[in-house]
Amino acid sequence: MRRSIIGRSWPNAIAVVLFVFFMFPVYWMFSTAFKRNSDIISKTPVFFPLRGTLEHFSTATGAAQFWEMVGNSFTVTVLAVLGSLVIATLASFAIARMKFRGRKSFVLVIMLAQMAPWEVMTIAVYMIVREKDMLDSLVPLTLFYMMMVLPFTIWTLRGFIAAVPKELEESAMVDGCTRTQAFVKVVFPLLAPGLMTTSLFGFITAWNELPLVLILNKATGPGSAQTLPLWLTSFQSLFGDDWGATMAASTLFAIPVLIIFLFLQRNAVGGMTAGAVKG
């Protein structure tokens, strides 16, 4: 009897330990954002910011052009993710469902494309954008962010498409649908989880990108094309890191990702299945 209770409770015990392990750094970020400076650096850690302050949040949101940057970040990220989803859906349908010459080469290119060292390619990207006279604009950012997430999106979606039984599509066509209609009516709805998984990944990637925007969009002031990662790192400087403000900014910065996750949660988690299995 005793053994079986232990046998049943050990997964829960481990889960609690893991919960603390994964949660603690996040909690530390969140709680630090509310701490007074004297409590941030303290020999005896202050675990609960009882004498809290909102000062760091006002420093963070009071930065120049904060709301414009929020707008820019959303525009760029959402467009980049949507763009890559559309392009990837078309491409992954082709490689998952059709046989044609060059298919394998394309798959190889997609795998190689995931290795692209974007951080080190920034100067090449910069020279191209400079040549095209597109600096200080959201357009190149959107395009390149789209490209950064495209290989992963194709890679994952093709797994999802492959997992949808062909029979479903074929029976729709027997019922008189064209192949396009069959795709839109039968396959596409089943792809929802896959689309959500990849958009979450794409969102995190594009939302966080810093090295490129740093040198492409240098103009500051009203109407500039700067994005939030520039704001996020601005509380760390040569003269010292404003930890409180960095943590407050990071907390705010992570919120959209969390909202999207909560929104997609059921589908995203359940949904990674097919893509992963078909990998």
Partner: protein, 326 residues
């Protein structure tokens, strides 16, 4: 839904031809239009890849043969210098040390991430609903935390005087750890960096693993258990074969991501102490963007890609082989 029982069999090497209708060809007539359909579908992806990735890559390759520093960039000068960037790197002992370190660093991280992620995934599958959602939420929060914040928090949890970790170890009675300096040694610094990367990477693997597990039909477990198999045997003979493609593709992604990571190294201890925690992408970034020797940065980037391709050649073969079976 038929998917539930299908994927497992579709994946097993012998099961490919089991799909009764084969490819889509029999249904769609072999007209010119339908033969060009796949290419039309791929067109946007190909155009985007060529223009947005191919072009910068070719440009980076070009730059790797140039002497490109502040001066040349400002004055728009092109100064070719042949293979001298490559020669300098390939004959520098620092480069090779860094390479060796990068490979070791990647291996340790990926092994920890895959083992840890798999175990967490298995655990998720065993937990009750409430506990599972709780743990999933924690995993998600870790995954979504901005790298700047995560790196700052970790480097500071391990701070010698004000860090929670040392305080905690001291409270537990390990008093010599009270002011222990994690960053004064290569291993100490790597410990913090690896913990950070593993912490932030496990969620992706665990989610995928858990999702994969839910597709394995319960009957398979039942059958194995009837045969008297223990946990390890079930994993080895039921779970692993079913999820082999998952392990392949996730390991592939993790190798690339870990190999390329440098923001964590920069933020935790800036490659210190004394450059002993520098990895190749960090080195390329410092040389390129930091010291503004863009040509040398490009050279290291090209060498890094080549190295990755060589290291991954085995993977490419396995995955492409799988393609044949699709």
């Amino acid at each position: 839904m038929a998917v539930q029982s299908e994927p497992v069999r579709v994946q097993s090497p012998g099961g490919v031809k089991g799909s009764p209708l084969g490819s889509g060809r029999p249904v769609v007539g072999p007209s010119l239009l339908s033969r060009s359909t796949p290419y039309l579908l791929l067109l946007p992806a190909i155009v985007a890849t060529l223009a947005l990735l191919g072009w910068p890559l070719v440009k980076t390759f070009e730059l790797s043969f140039q002497n490109l520093n502040k001066r040349q960039l400002i004055l728009h000068l092109t100064e070719w210098n042949g293979f001298s960037n490559y020669k300098d790197q390939l004959t520098s002992s620092e480069f090779w040390h860094t390479t060796g370190r990068t490979i070791a660093f990647t291996t340790v991280n990926v092994v920890l991430i895959m083992v840890g992620g798999t175990l967490v995934g298995l655990l998720l599958n065993r937990l009750g609903k409430k506990m599972r959602i709780l743990l999933q939420a924690a995993l998600m929060l870790a995954w979504a935390m901005p790298i700047v914040a995560a790196a700052t928090v970790f480097s500071w949890l391990f701070d010698s005087r004000f860090g929670v970790v040392n305080w905690f170890l001291d409270q537990l009675g390990w008093h010599s750890m009270a002011n222990y300096n994690w960053y004064s040694s290569q291993y100490g610094t790597f410990f913090v960096i690896i913990l950070l990367i593993v912490w932030q990477s496990i969620p992706f693997v665990a989610f995928n693993m858990y999702a994969g597990l839910t597709t394995i039909p319960a009957e398979l477990y039942e059958a194995a258990r009837m045969d008297g198999a223990g946990s390890w045997r079930i994993f080895r003979w039921v779970v692993f074969p079913s999820l082999k493609p998952f392990f392949l593709s996730t390991t592939f992604l993790e190798i690339i991501w870990v190999f390329k990571s440098f923001a964590q190294i920069l933020a935790v201890n800036a490659g210190g102490p004394q450059g002993l925690t520098q990895t190749l992408p960090f080195y390329a970034y410092i040389q390129g963007t930091g010291n503004q020797h863009y040509g040398i940065g490009a050279t290291i980037a090209v060498l890094t890609i080549l190295m990755l391709v060589v290291l991954m050649a085995y993977y490419f073969r396995i995955i492409l082989k799988q393609e044949d079976e699709l």
